[in-house]
């Protein structure tokens, strides 16, 4: 007698149209039934993935949960567009997440994995060299743009006691590099990056494929909690730029800040100037909990990251 094939676990990935979402979808779609949700258009999605183009704040999103039993949700749908207003950020990120969690509770979804960031701790001269998951989220003290992410992270934290039956996992990765379009990845792709004269902090980077592995581990039943995710051993910024054969332009901090503020005001630059603190102070995390409890290991060393940045431009 032929045994009935076990039903594949069904996973929703919100924000699947982003580069991280696509990378995750490509890794998961053979083992899981993946349903992708995004309000943006999506390209190059594997054929067996069901895609819903919907804003997660809308009513139509609820239908995705009603149609089929969902086993897990990976929530990547977090907006970070420096040019858009704070109100829009808060509405989309926090209300969207609230809606998602409500639906998960209502439809008895067993697992929710949320993407946060190590930037919620914030670069600061008083930081210990390695921040643990219990460190306060101070990223907003100088940088308003990160406050909605901190709010989101804390909101997800309340789920540990509000809905203990849901396994909530919050991942806080360090600077993601590779085929992603974010500030660190773009900065390392500049030929003549501007650096701050006399500052050379230690950096932690993680390759996007390693982060995908961390998400894979987070989907394992029984895993819950907050995890810092870091890749290879930390190196100074100057070491990274030297490996990439860049020609950095060190400039006095006040000048860079002034230029960036001006560039921002006349809309020739999209770099928010408070983010300069990331090339000034340390903001590194202790990822030992992820390595012990999740069994997470990185496979991309600094040399692999350098090779990738040099050989594969962002499309």
């Amino acid at each position: 007698m032929k045994e009935r094939k076990k039903r594949k676990q069904r996973v929703i990935i919100t924000g699947i149209a982003g580069r991280l979402g696509l990378a995750l979808a490509r890794r998961l779609h053979r083992r899981f039934d993946v349903i992708g949700v995004d309000r943006r258009k999506v390209k190059h999605l594997p054929k067996d993935i069901q895609f819903e183009r919907v804003d997660i704040r809308r009513r139509r999103f609820e239908d995705v949960f009603r149609r089929e039993q969902i086993d897990a949700v990976v929530h990547l749908n977090i907006m970070h567009d420096p040019r858009s207003t704070d109100a829009e950020h808060h509405d989309f990120n926090i209300n969207g997440t609230k809606k998602l969690f409500e639906l998960c509770a209502e439809h008895r979804v067993g697992k929710v994995v949320v993407l946060s960031s190590a930037n919620v701790y914030g670069p600061d001269p008083r930081n210990p060299q390695f921040l643990t998951e219990d460190a306060p989220l101070m990223g907003g003290q100088n940088f308003d743009g990160i406050r909605d992410l901190i709010g989101l992270d804390m909101f997800c934290n309340t789920f540990f006691w509000r809905h203990p039956e849901i396994e909530t996992v919050i991942l806080r990765p360090v600077h993601i590099v590779g085929q992603v379009n974010n500030a660190p990845s773009r900065f390392l792709r500049l030929d003549t990056p501007i650096t701050l004269l006399g500052f050379d902090p230690m950096l932690q980077l993680i390759h996007v494929e390693d982060l995908v592995s961390a998400f894979e581990r987070a989907l394992i039943p029984g895993i819950r909690g907050v995890y810092n995710i870091a890749g290879p051993s930390p190196v100074p910024l100057s070491y990274m730029l030297e490996k990439l054969r860049r020609k950095p332009r060190p400039m006095p901090e006040a000048m860079v800040r002034g230029l960036l503020k001006m560039g921002w005001a006349i809309k020739v630059s999209d770099w928010p100037w408070p983010e300069l603190d990331h090339i000034k102070y340390v903001c590194m995390v202790d990822d030992s909990r992820a390595r012990e409890e999740l069994g997470f290991t990185h496979t991309h060393e600094i040399d692999d990251i350098v090779r990738e940045i040099l050989t594969r431009p962002l499309k």
């Binding site: 001269p125 008083r126 930081n127 006399g198 230690m202 600094i302």
Partner: protein, 279 residues
């Protein structure tokens, strides 16, 4: 031009005796596969700061070192010293003693103030030469990694003393003792003699220091540059304390007093031994 300066600076490494330098290059400093330790210390960087420190240690201050065998070759330890001299050169010289004079060199890590990372260049030089921002987590991590930690429990109070209070110990902080109890780390007391005479200060204008935003504003009639005094650095025998780290301040204070007494004794011995300020 930058290359020229670099090769010139690197050339000065020859001023350090060959065998001393060879020992330093072999030193295990806990660096990762890229040549940096997690705090940003780069052993390669010693090539740049080693020669000037060697000059100050051997030629300018002619430091006399005793009891260096009390510093263990491996394993975590906390060095506790008196602090003096308006400029913190005593830390540099203790580091130099453990680096240049010890048979198996040890890298001394000290904790720096929180505002150091906000200064351009200083933040970079201090990090590359192994100095660490002073937080409790950092100290704990350093000891876990079998580091050798140098602390000055007197802090700025010790360094900005006026000359009439020379070689008096200011009130010791308790943090180092709690750390030692928690991690079961031996404490090595150090008495530094000579530092008080390098820039004698007659008055500390605290109101002015507060207004400018610096830790102290000393009035120094003999100029602001250190005089070529002779430093005498005495390392005492290791002290190991037992007890709970979270006891009341009073109980911890008793243990700290034992360290204070040991340092006072080392300083007194040093003061009676020396025959003058400059030789």
């Amino acid at each position: 031009m930058f290359q020229k300066i670099k090769s010139k600076v690197l050339g000065t490494v020859d001023r350090i005796p060959k065998e001393t330098w060879a020992r330093i290059e072999e030193m295990e400093a806990g660096q990762n596969e890229y040549g940096f330790d997690p705090f940003g210390f780069e052993p390669e960087f010693l090539k740049y700061i080693g020669p000037p420190i060697y000059f100050f240690h051997k030629k300018y201050f002619r430091s006399k070192i005793t009891g260096l065998e009390n510093v263990p070759d491996t394993g975590a330890c906390i060095l506790v010293s008196n602090h003096s001299g308006q400029i913190a050169l005593d830390g540099m010289l203790i580091g130099a003693a453990c680096m240049f004079d010890k048979k198996r060199p040890r890298m001394i890590r000290s904790m720096v103030e929180h505002w150091i990372p906000t200064l351009p260049f200083a933040s970079w030089v201090f990090a590359r030469s192994g100095q660490v921002t002073g937080t409790r987590d950092n100290a704990r991590l350093l000891l876990e990694r079998d580091g050798c930690l140098l602390v000055f429990p007197e802090g700025v109070k010790g360094i900005s003393k006026t000359y009439d209070r020379a070689y008096e110990l200011a009130n010791f902080g308790l943090g180092f003792m709690r750390l030692a109890l928690e991690t079961q780390t031996p404490i090595i007391p150090i008495g530094v003699v000579g530092g008080e005479e390098q820039i004698p200060s007659v008055w500390n204008i605290e109101s002015l220091a507060g207004a400018v935003g610096i830790p102290s504003f000393p009035v120094t009639p003999l100029g602001a540059l250190p005089l070529p005094v002779k430093y005498h650095i005495h390392f005492g025998e290791p002290l190991l304390f037992e007890g709970k780290a979270d006891e009341e301040d009073r109980a911890i204070r008793d243990k700290v007093d034992v360290v204070t007494k040991a340092i006072e004794k080392l300083i007194d011995n040093g003061l009676t031994e020396r025959t003058g300020f400059f030789f």
